[in-house]
């Protein structure tokens, strides 16, 4: 196994997430996709760390740890927003929430 395997895998996963974010219209699914992308990035971190000159610095795991924590916060807030939006628009369809105004 070399670094490139992991990088290409991460790129693939990232693009799967991107595809989801681009082609789905349900806000929650878009949230999934964002999670997938984040995790692909984490995979990259860990892979680079593993194949780095001195892994003893543990930069990769630390950064990934922080990224995971931030992602958790992001999910919580994102879902809360989705629910709030749902309460307002009565839908989580991204195409139908295209206004910033009350109407």
């Amino acid at each position: 196994m070399t670094l490139h395997h992991y990088l290409i895998l991460a790129a693939l996963l990232f693009c799967v997430g991107l595809m989801g974010a681009f082609t789905r219209r349900n806000a929650i699914v878009v949230l999934f996709s964002v999670e997938i992308m984040l995790n692909a990035a984490n995979l990259n971190f860990i892979a680079f760390w593993r194949y780095s000159e001195n892994p003893a610095l543990l930069h990769g795991p630390l950064f990934t740890l922080f990224a995971i924590a931030v992602a958790a916060a992001e999910v919580a807030v994102g879902l809360a927003l989705v629910i709030a939006v749902y309460r307002h628009f009565k839908t989580v369809d991204l195409e139908s929430m295209d206004t910033l105004r009350e109407e």
Partner: protein, 173 residues
């Protein structure tokens, strides 16, 4: 040998999970597929000897985020979770095109600029060391992160709670 086999199996699991998660019509199935993806990814972390990260991945994503998503779906979709409307957004084709472009761009550095692949040296990462690192040089980051999480928690509660119902509304009719 084992490692190669494990890598291929896990990566296939991960990609499959991700694909199903983003394409499935039924959201609950989607969430569980997403969890499969997370599990595969944590397996990959284990393969890269980042065992603590793998554990955290399972704990946070499968344990917490998955549940959160399930609850969000329960609160927003119909309980059965299947979505009979059109699921793909307008101009999904262009979305795919852009995705392809991004993929190419992501691969560019991996192909052009990286040094020729070198084998990973064997390491023995200890969780203790990680803990020391967290407590000694990165303690400020840790604190800031704690603050962020608290803020996110409060924000999420306030955002999801919305306007409070007046009292007489929830009295028995």
């Amino acid at each position: 040998m084992n490692e190669v086999v494990a890598f291929w199996i896990l990566s296939i699991i991960a990609i499959f999970g991700a694909l199903v998660a983003v394409r499935k019509r039924n959201l609950i199935h989607g969430v569980f597929a997403l969890l499969v993806f997370f599990a595969g990814l944590s397996g990959l972390f284990l393969l890269l000897l980042a065992e603590f990260i793998a554990a955290v991945q399972v704990l946070v994503y499968i344990g917490a985020v998955g549940i959160l998503l399930l609850f969000a779906i329960m609160l927003t979709e119909r309980v059965t979770g299947d979505d009979d409307r059109r699921v793909t957004s307008r101009g999904w084709f262009w979305g795919l095109v852009v995705t392809a472009a991004v993929f190419v761009v992501l691969l560019l550095p991996a192909i052009q600029q990286l040094p020729p692949p070198k084998a990973a040296q064997t390491i023995d990462p200890s969780v203790k060391e990680l803990g020391h690192k967290l407590m000694n040089p990165y303690v400020v980051t840790l604190e800031v992160l704690a603050l962020l999480l608290t803020a996110a928690l409060i924000g999420a509660v306030t955002a999801a709670q919305g306007v409070r119902m007046p009292k007489e509304e929830d009295s028995p009719e």
